[in-house]
Symmetry: C2
Subunit: 268 residues, 2 copies
Amino acid sequence: MMLGSKVWFNGTIIPIDQAHVGLSDRGFTLGDGLFETLLWTGTHIRFFDDHMARLSRSAVALGFEIPRTTGDIKAGLEALAQDAAGASAALRLTFTRGIGPRGLAIPDTGQPCLIATIAPLNVTKDGVSLQTVAIQRNAGAPSAQFKTLSYIDNIMALAQARALGGDDAIMLGTTGNIACASSANLIMRLNGKSLTPALTDGAMAGVVRGHLIKAGLVEEANISPEQLLTCDSAALSNALIGVRGVQSIDHRTLNFDAYWLEKLQAAL
Amino acid sequence: MMLGSKVWFNGTIIPIDQAHVGLSDRGFTLGDGLFETLLWTGTHIRFFDDHMARLSRSAVALGFEIPRTTGDIKAGLEALAQDAAGASAALRLTFTRGIGPRGLAIPDTGQPCLIATIAPLNVTKDGVSLQTVAIQRNAGAPSAQFKTLSYIDNIMALAQARALGGDDAIMLGTTGNIACASSANLIMRLNGKSLTPALTDGAMAGVVRGHLIKAGLVEEANISPEQLLTCDSAALSNALIGVRGVQSIDHRTLNFDAYWLEKLQAAL
């Protein structure tokens, strides 16, 4: 069975070609939904509880009700992951506000939609090159505070970075400080400290980021573009890559500090 | 035949319950698409060419290719509108980047998806009450520059306005100036001039707004929140409502200037 040929769709595992979203689903018409990307390590889902805590927090803030228990969701994801046959894989939970009439107003009686998909994962540990782009994260707005289905700014930020020859983008927040990459958090070595941009500057509240802060290995800070110029080493973090070293920022080669990267990675 | 029971789906009119979007469509997974809302007046599509010009401009900026000719699209919309039986109706064109693998990177070989739907329209001319909200438009970013499927900030801005007792929101741009309502442009009467917030402050490039500017009836300006406090009269504009008077802003009652509103409306 090819990985990804089945999905968990509102509580049932079905073939992906039988799984469809209606044209009136607000996830499709308006980006009105949330998602989580989770790592299947080959044996278990890493940081499952943290992902569910974030999803739940985000859902409350956006006025969603998650239509399944955490236990149901875990069982659905684990059932999908059986096809990975012991290899690591990328799980994605997608959660929409469901069917609604025309317009932005949130319907009183929603039928939320909850879907899990799985895809093969090919993580490399090669250092990435980053390019600062012009598109900013809307600090303080739902599109930056939560992992919503409204991702166009990040898509185009990545495209800008690729056009500049980079692997990924560095996005500033609308506060003017550094925020994050297009789908990863940024960790920087600055004056001997390991810092990560603040949520108030538009950084995504990444699960790995949160874990490294709790472990005391990384501190949150407001980081200006000028400080970026003085950082010695840097890393990206997200649920799938864990921690990955940065080779260069805006064509400036950084110190690829394998010891520092391993220490961060080992905490996951 | 109930209005809305059929859709125009990648070139063919089919029943809506047979029209589905795949789970890997980037419109669904990432809000990676564009839409246009057009007015069927009962006899024709108002401002069709302006809508297509905006869609085309936006598609170029986001690196999309529209998979149908303008003539095909017009024929599809008009075929749908036959069910309106001479009444006005809301048409919506939804255009996604199509199926893609996991991740934000834009696939080389996309299969874009183009859909048109229709819904009954019930436009009232009652004045609306507006409430300034905290969520800002990300001035300069694709989510504000184009009518994309990534609409979460506007959805939550409307929800905030409703929670404050208003019918619609006034969103500031991240520049600090006034931008627009949740799905309409704002026109304000200030010192005898009819002004509308600038695109550079995060205003949506509305088709009716553009038409009123071209007609010399409205001027674009950077408008501060302080200036908002001194406006005598105001209106909202979008493709479906045309021009609609504003009753109050942040509980301050405005002058409902029927003559001014009629003059704007008459230009459409």
